[in-house]
Amino acid sequence: MTPTAELRGIQEVAVEIGDTPILLRTNDAAFQEIVLHRYARFLGKGARPPLTFDVDIARPEGALSDEQELRVWSDNGLWRFVRGDFRAEWDPRARRGHILQTLTPYAIDSVLRIVHTLIQASEGGFLLHGASAIRNGRASLFSGVSGAGKTTISRLAPKDAVLLSDEISYIRRDGSGYRACGTPFAGELGRPGENATAPVERLYFLAKGPENRMDPIETADALRMLLRNILFFADDAELVKMVFHSANEFLGRVPAFRLTFFPDERVWDLIG
């Protein structure tokens, strides 16, 4: 029996991203199929006790909220997330939550991203709008706004590089350093990252240009750019402070560079 077939027979699936398993419990077979397919590289129960979400699918299909813009807020210790295609709540103390969503992968993708940003905010890590890859046992992060070259640099990666994501990178605090973890959240490349992890060696802010060059960035500029690219959803003052602190700590330990690159594979000679 294949692992997939085993999982089909039960009503819960653990999706483990960033060494943080989240157990999704549902009776909806179509939703289970989406989860099993979309997070195929990230299934399994890790050593850490999982967070548990009960998932209900709204039928018939239709918007669940008039609010198309995402809202995330804390209400007496309970986190609430609302968008047109889902309504969710999560009790961090009880480690349990509930999701009501339409039958789309984008809704569960978003809920998982939000939960992970909240978890990492309190653990000193963060999710970064950026690509990441492991080479020679060390991870490099490539951040930038849309069009800066995240997908391009991922596409140009040499065969011995392990691509963690071309869109959303997962950064965890690890002792005195940081680790980058693969995520299933894909950008234009259209394929999930590998479920792998490695210590973060460098952070690059991408820009396309006529030649390949790497320039150090002043810490103040790096902080401004990093904060612009950290995924952050909640309208919550304490969380803002935690993210600011995490970004500062990160830049105190990981050097940041501006990587201007001409889009061919030679840029990876510079990255190493």
Partner: protein, 105 residues
């Protein structure tokens, strides 16, 4: 003319890097970078020291700036930061800075 008192909001996260102060508003995530002179004013914003005294003792003497220019620039600066709720302004000493903007003048 009444005195002006300024105090840092508690709804911010801040850190000094080199001679610049990095400030993030916890209310709306707006990010500010203060130059060296603005950083001195920010650090002196204890709610008890009048702005005029901060300008005279910390800015004019420390940076050799004409008093009139320093006063005008300082007022513009504190008004701009108060609009974002990260600095509080009052015509009375501010003993306990509150969250967010609570401009009282």
């Amino acid at each position: 003319m009444p005195e002006t008192y300024i105090a840092r909001s508690s709804a911010i996260a801040a850190r000094i890097l080199g001679n610049e102060m990095m400030i993030m508003s916890a209310m709306d995530s707006t990010f500010f970078t203060l130059n060296e002179v603005a950083t001195v004013i920010w650090q002196a914003a204890d709610g008890r020291t009048p702005l005029s005294e901060i300008v005279e003792r910390r800015i004019c003497q420390g940076f050799e700036i004409e008093p009139e220019v320093a006063r005008r620039d300082a007022e513009q600066f504190v008004n701009a930061l108060s609009e974002h709720g990260i600095l509080l302004i009052s015509d009375q000493p501010i003993l306990e800075p509150k969250l967010g903007a609570s401009e009282t003048r």
